[in-house]
């Protein structure tokens, strides 16, 4: 299982990176990817209730299942326009 993980805006600052790969057993859904990243970057924890989740460029739920090769993104509420 290999998941490409992207972080944007304040979440990238908290993660200390804009991109990483998560390769681990026990990764089944989007929130388990977030849990894995939070273990490595505890500053992410404070974003748990506000983070927006995306799976392969579409909004996702915490329980959305992930598969090998998927791209998951974590970011704050959007502020474009």
């Amino acid at each position: 299982m290999s998941i490409r993980v992207l972080f944007f805006a304040s979440l990238a600052d908290a993660a200390g990176t804009r991109e990483r790969t998560v390769e681990a057993a026990g990764i089944t859904d989007v929130i388990s990817v977030f849990d894995r990243c939070t273990a490595d970057a505890p500053a992410l924890e404070s974003y748990r209730t506000s983070v927006l989740l995306a799976l392969n460029s579409e909004f996702a739920r915490p329980s959305s299942p992930v598969r090998d090769g998927d791209e998951v993104a974590f970011f704050p509420p959007v502020s474009g326009g």
């Binding site: 992207l6 944007f8 805006a9 304040s10 600052d13 506000s50 927006l52 995306a54 460029s57 579409e58 909004f59 993104a73 970011f75 704050p76 509420p77 959007v78 502020s79 474009g80 326009g81």
Partner: protein, 136 residues
């Protein structure tokens, strides 16, 4: 036409390329970098995007606008990177036979961009910088 760009947006060129003889109304919206926010003086802004998803979502906004309002076409361009005060970060152009639908579709488009398109603004002040988070 939906796009992301790192160059200044040429609003007049977008309007000219969208407009057709059957159009009776062309509504143009420019989102402009403002020199103040939350009682602080803003020096400049930077925008970043999850580009592949942002482009997909801009197209979704445009497609929904076309199906929901009686318009002929819509163009949306969002700029990314560094922007000075007074520059346009977003340009929306709506073309339709009549003005009512064009105004409504344009308002819908900018409001929806601010809800679902993964783009973020960072404000730079004289004494620091802050990522702005939208309302959920």
């Amino acid at each position: 036409m939906f796009s992301l760009t790192r160059e200044p947006i040429d609003t007049a060129r977008i309007s000219r390329s969208l407009q057709q003889p059957e159009d009776g109304a062309l509504v143009v919206f420019e989102g402009i970098v403002r020199n103040h926010a939350r009682d602080k003086a803003v020096r400049y802004l930077e925008y970043e995007a999850y580009e592949s998803m942002a482009l997909k979502k801009l197209e979704e906004v445009g497609t929904t606008a076309r199906s929901r309002f009686d318009i002929r076409d819509i163009a949306i361009v969002h700029r990314l990177g560094h922007m000075e005060i007074g520059e346009a970060s977003t340009v929306i152009v709506v073309a339709s036979a009549h003005r009512g639908a064009a105004f409504e579709a344009c308002r819908f488009a900018i409001d929806t961009i601010k809800e679902i398109v993964p783009i973020w603004k960072k404000e730079f002040y004289t004494d620091g910088e802050v990522w702005i988070e939208g309302a959920r």
